[in-house]
Subunit: 354 residues, 2 copies
């Protein structure tokens, strides 16, 4: 179980340190885990002058899975665009062909108050958003800035999907729906965009291979509304890269505790990159204040999806549930009556619960 560990920037190193402690426990208990670190994002730029250095590429290509902290920070904002931290993230996704981004939005009962939504609207929320991650307008050509036929400056990007790109993400989404409540909602803007009309047609075609799954379709504007109006109507959602970027962030914020939400980005063979859904939080970096649970839960997803170690995954997830039940809270999820702990303090609690 070769794992490339990319702490990244901001709070990345701190939260990764706690996830490593969790993996260390599992190794001591017999899992053949091997960890090696490399820089990505701003850390890559600092060390090698680029956000996705060759050293990191080699390590990640050779690994079975990648565990990432977070990338980005204000000190990199003035760099040339190709050198910026998020370019490292886009590059590694494309390089490793991580086309399937899984982003759960789960509300932990103990943290129900953290949501800005009324408890009855979000209690028990458990949505899985499947976002296509290596196509769409993120990577479509042609793109750029130029001058149009009227001699005016303009800029353009291309939304583009090929049949195989849509088909493979459809299979991932239907596969996940099969393991859950067998309800899949495909989100598109088929009334306006040919690309998503094509997407919808292929979803309908693939659905024939999964007769047990109930497939529905929703326009992206309506989906953005329905997530606010009644999010519990959703089980699994599948959508393209840009709509998925927007809707998965909206969905994670419904919980009010984005510091709890992991994510996975998988290739065709379940090799994956795992990272928390939150960012690098430069404002609290280096202060031992960050919430490491999303990163620890990302490690659990890694055990499940890449290594098929369902038992170990559940052991980690149960440890997280235990520490929440015990009342441990980092600052982002703190409320009166609970015990406030530091990032490493939360790591202590999880290790103890394991």
């Amino acid at each position: 179980m070769k794992i490339a560990v990319l702490p990244g920037d901001g709070i990345g190193p701190e939260i990764i340190a706690q996830a490593r402690r969790v993996l260390d426990v599992l190794r001591q208990d017999g899992l053949p885990i091997e960890l090696e670190e490399a820089p990505l994002g701003g850390a890559g730029y600092d060390a090698y002058g680029v956000p996705y250095p060759e050293f990191t590429q080699k390590l990640c290509r050779a690994a079975d899975a990648v565990l990432l902290g977070a990338v980005g920070g204000p000190q990199y904002d003035t760099l040339d665009r190709p050198l910026r931290p998020e370019r490292g993230l886009l590059a590694i996704r494309k390089d490793l062909n991580l086309f399937a981004n899984l982003r759960p939005a789960i509300l932990y009962p103990e943290l129900a108050n953290a949501s800005t939504l009324k408890p009855e609207v979000v209690s028990g929320l458990d949505i899985m958003i499947v976002r296509e991650l290596t196509g769409d307008i993120y990577f479509g050509q042609p793109r750029g800035m130029g001058v149009n036929e009227q001699g005016e400056r303009e800029a353009f990007n291309t939304m583009r999907y090929s049949e195989s790109e849509v088909r493979r993400i459809a299979h991932v989404a239907f596969g996940i729906a099969m393991k859950r409540n067998k309800k899949l909602c495909s989100v598109d803007k088929a009334n306006v965009l040919e690309t998503t009309e094509f997407w919808k047609e292929i979803m309908i075609d693939v659905a024939r291979e999964y007769p047990q799954v109930e497939l529905s379709h929703m326009y992206v504007d309506n989906a953005a509304m329905q997530l606010v109006r009644n999010p519990k109507q959703f089980d699994v959602m599948v959508t393209g890269n840009i709509f998925g970027d927007i809707l998965s962030d909206e969905a994670s914020m419904l919980t009010g505790s984005i510091g709890m939400l992991p994510s996975a980005s998988l290739d065709q063979n379940n090799k994956g990159l795992y990272e928390p859904s939150h960012g690098s939080a430069p404002d609290i970096a280096g202060k031992n204040l960050a919430n490491p649970l999303a990163t620890i839960l990302s490690a659990a997803m890694m055990l499940r999806y890449t290594f098929a170690q369902e038992e170990a995954a559940q052991r980690v997830e149960n440890a997280v549930k235990t520490v929440l039940a015990q009342g441990y809270r980092t600052g982002d999820i703190f409320e009166a009556g609970c015990q406030k702990v530091s990032c490493s303090g939360m790591g202590d609690a999880v290790v103890a619960a394991l």
Copy 2:
């Protein structure tokens, strides 16, 4: 004051009938209002075989403003794409050059309970979303389906903005910010899309002409989150056509009472199309159950933006506030202790309050 009235489909005719009664009162009180009706959407298809018939085009081109009910219905879902109701809407926007879509998201104090968000998060909410409406990926060429270089089926659309398109919507947004709290948030995905990087640059440039307005920038994924986390941080938001489609629907649902929200789509000379933010609600069409207030408030926006009749606009808006304070509610906003009224009953109440 020549107004083309397009009842459209579903509940369209019912809600338009109530807005007409309001305009009739204003006419009796001296405003030189002239109304003429024409079909759009499914009604256009039924009457003339196309969603934006020539008859309607002529009337709308000659009018100073257009008041629209809503378009769409299940009976039109199987029509060829160019014949579908929403094509009529896209066509009229483009034909009349209605590039500036103004979508307020206002929470009426009396309706605070309708929101799925906690009262403290949304009480007093008053956001104005300015959405560019005639450019972006909605209209960008090339677009379509085809076969790629690998011989595989694919589909594509083009996101595209020219400098003048961005500049004119920027001026509208800054102008509106000047009349409100002088805070403008421009939403982009400049870390990934050149089109929106270009958009951002032009916003910054135009900002120099409005030194009193505080301009900020936010990525669209973050904006989708922040609308849920803390919507009251926003005053005016400006964004492109597709992001605006998604975010304005999300924002309107924060109020929980989309039956209350009007919208305006303006050209360069304040000619405009006014319509409720909600849809044609085929399920309750013809039952006298719909909420006509968003349409009545759309007429108020028309008085304000196209006819510069601020006093008349406020008179209508105050009448709506009065009927809410009096406890009249259509089914969509009903709660215990209030008096349930029909669509025409609500019209009665507004006319009385006027």
